[in-house]
């Protein structure tokens, strides 16, 4: 019997717009000094509050769709998704049902392409906090996050392993950061990951008759581990002659295991219908094209260009394009480096190997460092010999220490010689000369 893991991902990403999705409240739930301060009648679900959609959030969702090679729906709309939960202020979430902003994209990966089923825009919920006050167990609700714009990305079940999922997620994360539309910070929960996992037996036709959803995982590694754990678990269930039961599970990192949360045998009925408070969205080709033109250069494109323009190794390119900022820093340095006859490879290696802090060291300073470190200014033999001589005379104690076997004293003396020569001369030659003079 052979088994094939069938994995899809659902990813939620909070957009970092200035204001919330449907009201003017500040969108900054993670830095709010107090609960329930970024709220208004709309995001609190007060009587009479009406949603007014955030144009920027719609634009950013379309841009992500374009970056993921999706088709953009020229007519889209928002729908109400009904369910009861105390952190859902209106008793329904404004989401998108059958006309999401983006449909049918693809992301290419070395492990295999992953098709994107859809990308849609919705609102986040508030946050529950279970605590004890005056000895009583209570649940408090913070609505600072209520109504924050939230993108949902759903893939087709094209992922075949934990590593494949991780690779997809890293790439997606990189694209989101390139677009600069979200902090996509998993620790804080501005990017949330939910793999849907099942295992196909070799004789199965089509998709397996069940799937396990693992909820709210907050790291790519945990997704990988949870998938690997689940796949092994499903196979052992099949081996025992049973079928895994459809359910929602959680991930316990300490135990390295998933655990059952709730069974999901019946599909929930969310009673979707078009939100009558929000007119349908009609886009023009021209508008979509203008958004496409505004897309930044994306990682794949950048990698191709870097390879062509700078003849760098794939590994080096990967590291340079990890973020737009590093890539930009590199290119700024290369541009300026031409005046110093510095090759792109030299600069790239320096940035990566020295782990340069691009926020602390300007590109100009960086070049200066490289030039200093790699350029040899000629110094005459006499001048060198004179400097060594002077240093030996001036630092008798260090000389004695060295002769007594204290090796670090040599470095000190070398430093003093270099200082006298103002950094001129070939370090290797000076070092050898000094060592010989002391022996």
């Amino acid at each position: 019997m052979s088994y094939t893991p069938i994995i899809g991902l659902e990813i939620h990403v909070e957009l970092k717009t200035q204001s919330k999705m449907f009201c003017g409240c500040k969108n900054d739930p993670f830095h709010a000094p107090k609960p329930n301060i970024y709220t208004c009648p709309v995001c609190l679900g007060m009587p009479g509050g009406l949603p007014v959609p955030n144009k920027k959030a719609i634009e950013w969702t379309i841009m992500l769709g374009l970056a993921l090679n999706c088709k953009i729906n020229m007519v889209s709309k928002f729908d109400r998704k009904h369910y009861f939960y105390p952190d859902l202020s209106k008793g329904y979430q404004i989401s998108q049902y059958d006309q999401p902003l983006c449909l049918g994209g693809v992301l290419s990966l070395p492990e295999g392409d992953v098709r994107i089923h859809r990308v849609h825009l919705e609102e986040d919920t508030g946050k529950l906090q279970h605590t004890t006050i005056d000895g009583k167990e209570v649940t408090l609700i913070d609505f600072n996050r209520s109504g924050v714009p939230l993108i949902e990305i759903v893939t087709e079940p094209d992922i075949r392993s934990g590593e494949h999922a991780k690779s997809f997620l890293k790439k997606l994360h990189q694209i989101i950061r390139y677009l600069d539309i979200s902090d996509a910070d998993m620790e804080k929960g501005s990017m949330r990951l939910e793999p849907n996992i099942s295992v196909k037996q070799s004789e199965d036709e089509g998709l397996p008759p069940y799937k396990i959803e693992v909820k709210n995982i907050n790291s790519f590694n945990f997704v990988k581990k949870a998938i690997e754990y689940e796949v092994a678990r499903h196979i052992s269930i099949f081996e025992s002659g049973a079928t895994p039961k459809q359910e929602t599970r959680g991930w316990n990192e300490d135990a390295g295991q998933t655990f059952s949360q709730r069974s999901k045998e019946h599909a929930e009925d969310y009673r979707y219908f078009p939100d009558p408070d929000i007119p349908p969205l009609h886009f023009t080709e021209q508008y979509i094209e203008s958004l496409r033109e505004n897309l930044p250069e994306l990682p794949d494109e950048k990698a191709r260009r870097f390879k062509e323009a700078y003849q760098l190794s794939d590994q080096l390119i990967d590291m340079l394009i990890a973020s737009r900022q590093i890539a930009q820093y590199f290119e700024d340095a290369v541009k300026e480096g031409r005046n110093h006859n510095l090759a792109p490879t030299t600069i790239a290696n320096w940035i990566i190997n020295k782990k340069v802090d691009i926020h602390a060291v300007s590109a100009t300073d960086l070049l200066h460092q490289i030039v200093q470190a790699t350029t040899v200014i000629h110094v005459s033999d006499d001048e060198m010999q004179q400097a060594i001589h002077d240093v030996i005379l001036d630092h008798e104690k260090a000389v004695q220490d060295y002769k007594a076997g204290k090796k670090p004293a040599l470095m000190f003396l070398f430093g003093q010689v270099m200082k006298k020569l103002h950094g001129k001369g070939d370090k290797k030659i000076i070092y050898d000369r000094l060592e010989r003079s002391l022996s």
Binding site: P47, G48, G49, L50, V52, P86, G91, P276, D277
Partner: protein, 472 residues
């Protein structure tokens, strides 16, 4: 003293010319409210200090205005006539009441309605039924029954109501005053407790057509807090009132409906004759059971279409009243709200939404197409909002579809989002009860609707204020 009988137009005029003071007007209205409210049950809350808030130097000159209790107002409680919200004080003001206040109107009190505006009689109110001031054995209609009664009984100078399908027109008709349901999107819904969100329209309920034109001007216009509000600029409706109907094409509709009483038919047809005598081209448009060119689609289907759309939206809109953030929990909902939540939940359920909600929306589009087609050749359509006089108090008992049947003639224009007015067109001397004339316009053509209504009001004896009270 009779200052409470003043129309809005006259009250503003007299206050501006300093013939009377804001305090005098408020004083007399308050005195009359104290006298009448115990028997009529019009107001749920009253601002005893309203006169202090009136500024004569404003457009609306500080006149007292009654507000249906589903508009959120700062300073007075807002309940939607439901125990769920009993004692609820809103932290913010509805756009409509804010605009009225900014224009110098003063909210004198909040008026009774069917709980959550669910009904056509005020009988589903958790705070008792309002009585028809013209004959207290009869219902004022609903859901804006309190506002209509306040106007009709002179317990305010003017009022604001809201309509989903008939909730302004029916009570205005039954109480013998003027009620205008504007085009959907003409007036902001922000801060109005939502009933059927794709249908809800706030509108003026007044003593005269001119009063309605004055209020609408301040109520209408784009609101950044309501994405469905229109960008079109709101005109000064009052300035075009006297243009008349010369050259207009007016169609009479629903007269061949099975349940149209002869008496009502006569007054509507006579209204047509009056318009014709003032230069309009008037003819009768036949009913059709299917969508046909130059015929009006039967309102019979509208009952089902409207019921499904509205209940679906109601079930969704009432989901927020969970008692967690404000108000009381769900056990305080009355029977009518519970019935609507159950039906609306059903019509949106998986496997049923296609059969009910989606089907209803498709038929709704037919009504819209029908009106669009008719308005390509007609300027106005006339009919009646109610095929008869007010019904007796208690008529709705044991009849959960009462409202929908009463509202039937208003549902097509509500579903299509068209503006319409109801003005008095007959008064029975024995019962003291009125019939109403409906004038329906194309989208955003409130001006034409008001012009025709204004002419009718001036040329017939049925408005009880303009022909008498104006001469105070």
């Amino acid at each position: 003293m009779t200052l409470h009988r003043l129309t809005l137009t006259k009250a503003i005029e007299l206050i501006k010319s300093k013939e009377v003071s804001v305090q005098e007007v408020h004083g007399e209205v308050h005195a009359f409210i104290r006298e009448k409210n115990p028997t009529l049950n019009v107001y749920l809350s009253i601002d005893e200090h309203s006169s202090e808030k009136g500024n004569p130097e404003t457009d609306l000159a500080g006149v007292p205005i009654a507000i249906k209790d589903n508009f959120l107002t700062v300073g007075l409680p807002t309940t939607a006539s439901s125990r769920v919200l009993e004692g609820f004080y809103s932290p913010y003001e509805s756009t409509v009441t804010k605009r009225i206040k900014d224009a110098g109107g003063v909210v004198i009190g909040k008026t009774n309605l069917d709980a959550w505006a669910h009904g056509s009689s005020t009988e589903t109110s958790d705070f008792g039924t309002t009585r028809n001031p013209d004959n207290p054995d009869y219902s004022p209609g609903g859901s804006s029954g309190g506002s209509a009664a306040a106007v009709s009984a002179d317990m305010c100078i003017a009022a604001i109501g809201s309509e989903t399908a008939g909730s302004i027109r029916i009570p205005a008709c039954w109480c013998g005053c003027v009620g205008l349901k504007p085009t959907y999107g003409r007036v902001s819904r922000a801060g109005v407790i939502a009933m059927g969100s794709s249908l809800d329209c706030p509108g003026p309920m007044t003593k005269t057509v001119e009063d309605a034109a004055i209020l609408l001007r301040y109520m209408a216009g784009k609101d950044l807090y309501d994405a469905t509000s229109s960008n079109r600029k709101a005109p000064d409706y009052r300035s075009s009132l006297q243009k008349g109907v010369k050259g207009m094409r007016i169609g009479i509709i629903y007269m061949d409906h099975l349940h149209m009483p002869q008496e009502v038919k006569e007054v509507v047809i006579n209204a047509g004759k009056l318009f014709a005598s003032h230069g309009a081209i008037v003819d009768e448009i036949k009913l059709s059971q299917t969508l046909e060119k130059d015929k009006v689609l039967s309102p019979d289907y509208a009952v089902a279409v409207y019921t499904i759309v509205q209940r679906s939206e109601v079930a969704s809109n009432l989901a927020r009243y969970d008692g967690i953030r404000y108000g009381r929990d769900r056990s305080h909902f009355g029977n009518e709200a519970k019935r609507r939540i159950m039906l609306g939940t059903f019509t949106l359920s998986k496997g049923y939404a296609d059969k009910y909600y989606i089907k209803a929306q498709q038929v709704r589009m037919l009504y819209k197409k029908n009106f669009d087609q008719l308005f390509s050749s007609y300027d106005l359509l006339i009919s009646t909002p109610s095929p008869g006089y007010a019904l007796k108090v208690g008529a709705s008992e044991g009849n959960p579809m009462f409202g929908e049947v009463v509202d039937m003639l208003n549902e097509p224009s509500s579903l299509a989002g068209n503006p319409a007015i109801s003005i008095p067109c007959y008064r029975d001397s024995k019962t003291n009860l009125s019939l109403g004339l409906a004038i329906i316009g194309d989208h955003f053509e409130e001006e034409k609707v008001l012009q025709a209504a204004y002419l009718y009001e001036r040329e017939t004896p049925w408005n009880r204020w303009i022909h008498k009270v104006d001469k105070i």
